[in-house]
């Protein structure tokens, strides 16, 4: 579930508000999106893929985490490299190579 919108990183581009298939975000008064309907989140990671500044974090669980969970701790997630991890793997963002270009999985066993 979406857990973090980090105001310090957000450039108020509205991308996440637009692309979230289940309309979880509303644009806040200051332009920073707010998680208005967390219970509608389908844990699909699309908002993260589209956020140009890695300001969002989607925890890998389908239920909300506790307030003191490390999935809400931006500093820790930055440190561990988990923040922005999906975008990095997709190769989305300036100067990156598209992940699809090298997405060759293993041969399947019979």
């Amino acid at each position: 579930m979406i857990e973090i919108v980090e105001p310090g990183r957000c450039i108020a581009c509205d991308r996440c508000v637009e692309v979230c298939p289940t309309r979880v975000f509303d644009r806040g008064a200051d332009g920073i999106p707010v998680i208005a309907r967390q219970d509608s989140c389908q844990t699909c990671f699309q908002c993260e893929a589209y956020c140009p500044t890695d300001a969002l974090f989607v925890a890998p669980l389908v239920t909300a985490v506790a307030a003191d969970s490390h999935f809400r701790d931006v500093t820790e997630l930055e440190g561990s490299g988990l923040l922005g991890g999906y975008r990095r793997e997709l190769g989305w963002g300036r100067g990156r190579t598209l992940g699809a270009r090298t997405a060759i999985g293993p041969e399947y066993p019979d």
Partner: protein, 534 residues
């Protein structure tokens, strides 16, 4: 619905409902055929639906007769010989051509092998679907995001003539009047949380049946996918390398990803099940990370190394998403039994190429591409012949939109009631009349309550429709499942474990307040072995 202001109205040749792979290919082909096209998605075309979040293997087979023959033969028995060679061959051709187009025009970055040849058997969801969106927009299609269709419009002759939809950004309804409609709204996964599928609530089937369409293969609706417990990660391919365990660390005998998933289901009824991808060699492990970044996104975030750590798993229902039932296809252009209405992707039955076996893994993706392309061209042709519809249009919606009594039930309550009957493994997966019958009765009661007393206003309108669509879907599934008193394809009856040669036919299902199922008429019945329609 309470306001007297005239609804804002768009007029177009072709309305496409749903912007997944099926809907975007439909929009592309309709626009190329010269039609004016409106594409409305409940979410956002490019990120919404199963493919966008999941990515898919696709049934792409080189144009070599022996390879094609082997590809067609491979799933015929698994599908209970309900597929059709003619359709399989058409889908293989069309998929080949469209993947070529995807590479050339959408410039999809397929990986290349050591000989420089593109490998086209896998599509990464976000990459594929963002390119589909761009292509659709470049062709001048009007894209309406966050605009779920609520109901179809028909003219006085019953010809489908557009839809009413809800603009979720404003909470207002809009009308789109069209010469023909393509339904590509996905299947129904009952909001089980399988990846990317909360938007797939079976709206397409409900809209179609309300306009007079019939369904086919609704008994093939018991797909369940493995996921690490508590997550939405239902990517199942890599479980081919997994061993399954009990809590005490002993191996769960007979459990497996493809054959043996029912053992997992049975065990989960009473105790937890664990998995580990411990049969993957180091070079395979590295390839897996490359092949499916979203899989490892979840494991990395959970702090689990799936190759060395045991992790608890669950099974999530995927209904008619990785099942194969849906709107009956009447002809090669993906027209339905109702004039002006075309169906594509998971909204349509995939029995034509899968029979009764899951279309997941390859066939569904190929079907979405092919059926979408055919439906788009078909709808454009129909609209050109017909012209724009006249004024006297009737709105076909029923449950959730037009309660017959005072509002007494909310959409959440209705969804809870459906999930109670559909999600449990002992009802939908491990099927037996003793459990299916009471479950169906309960769903009928929920339908009556919904029909009479489910209504909503403003933004909530589409939630009410989703709830109604799921109740209807569950009833069609269980009605057909009870009617097929044998085991065939994915439909396994524990009370009828054998295949019954006398039931070698497709089952049609339909109806709203009164539901019916019956074998497809003899003309379309299948020959003993082959599967080619007579």
């Amino acid at each position: 619905m309470t306001s007297n202001d005239p609804e804002p109205t768009l007029n177009t040749d072709v309305l496409v409902i749903g912007g997944g792979p099926a809907g975007t290919w439909a929009a592309i082909k309709a626009a190329q055929a010269g039609a004016d096209v409106v594409l409305a998605d409940k979410g956002y075309t490019g990120t919404s639906g199963a493919t966008a979040s999941v990515g898919t293997g696709i049934w792409y087979v080189d144009d070599v007769p022996e390879l094609r023959e082997a590809a067609m033969a491979s799933r015929e028995a698994l599908g209970g010989h309900l597929a059709d060679r003619d359709w399989m061959a058409r889908v293989l051709d069309e998929t080949h051509a469209r993947m070529d187009e995807l590479a050339r025009i959408q410039r999809y970055p397929f990986p290349v092998d050591s000989d420089g040849r593109q490998l086209r058997g896998d599509l990464q969801g976000p990459e594929y679907m963002r390119r589909q969106r761009t292509r659709v927009q470049r062709l001048g299609v009007r894209v309406l995001d966050h605009t779920p269709a609520l109901e179809l419009l028909t003219d006085t002759d019953g010809v489908v003539s557009g839809a009413r939809a809800l603009d979720r950004t404003t909470g207002e309804t809009v009308r789109v009047q069209a010469g023909a409609v393509v339904l590509a709204a996905g299947g129904c996964a009952f909001r089980s949380k399988t990846l990317g599928c909360d938007v797939n609530t079976g709206d397409g089937a409900l809209l179609a049946v309300e306009a007079g369409a019939r369904l086919s293969g609704m008994e093939f609706s018991n797909a369940y996918a493995i996921a690490p417990k508590g997550t939405s990660l239902t990517k199942t391919a890599y479980y081919s390398w997994a061993t399954f365990y009990r809590a005490d660390g002993s191996v769960l005998d007979g459990a497996g990803s493809t054959r043996g998933r029912s053992v997992i289901a049975k065990t989960l009824l009473t105790e937890p099940v664990y998995a580990r991808f411990d049969r993957a060699a180091p070079h395979e492990q590295r390839a897996m990370r490359k092949g499916q970044p979203n899989t490892f996104l979840v494991f990395d975030r959970l702090g689990i190394n799936p190759f060395t750590d045991l992790f608890e798993v669950t099974l999530l229902a995927e209904g008619t998403v990785r099942g194969t039932g849906g709107v009956r296809i009447a002809d090669h252009d993906c027209s339905t039994d109702v004039p002006g209405l075309y169906a594509a992707g998971d909204t349509a039955t995939r029995e034509l190429i899968c029979g009764g076996f899951t279309g997941g893994g390859s066939h569904n993706a190929a079907w979405a591409v092919s059926s979408g392309s055919w439906a788009g061209r078909g709808a454009a042709g129909f609209a050109a012949r017909r012209g724009r519809p006249g004024r006297a249009l009737r709105a076909a919606g029923t449950a959730g939109l037009r309660p017959t009594g005072p509002v007494t039930i909310g959409h959440r309550e209705a969804v809870d009631a459906v999930q109670r009957e559909i999600l449990p493994y002992d009802r939908n997966y491990l099927r037996h009349a003793d459990r299916l019958e009471p479950a169906l009765r309960s769903l009928h009661r929920t339908w009556s309550a919904v029909r009479e007393g489910l209504g909503a206003d403003g933004e909530e309108l589409f939630r009410a429709r989703e709830a109604a669509a799921m109740v209807a879907h569950g009833r069609w599934m269980y009605h057909a499942a009870l009617r097929r008193t044998e085991s065939r394809g994915m439909h396994k009856r524990t009370d009828h474990p054998a295949l019954d040669p006398a039931q070698h036919h497709r089952l049609l299902t339909g109806g709203l307040d009164e539901i019916w199922s019956r074998p497809e008429t003899p003309r379309r019945q299948l020959l003993a072995n082959g599967g080619r329609a007579a």
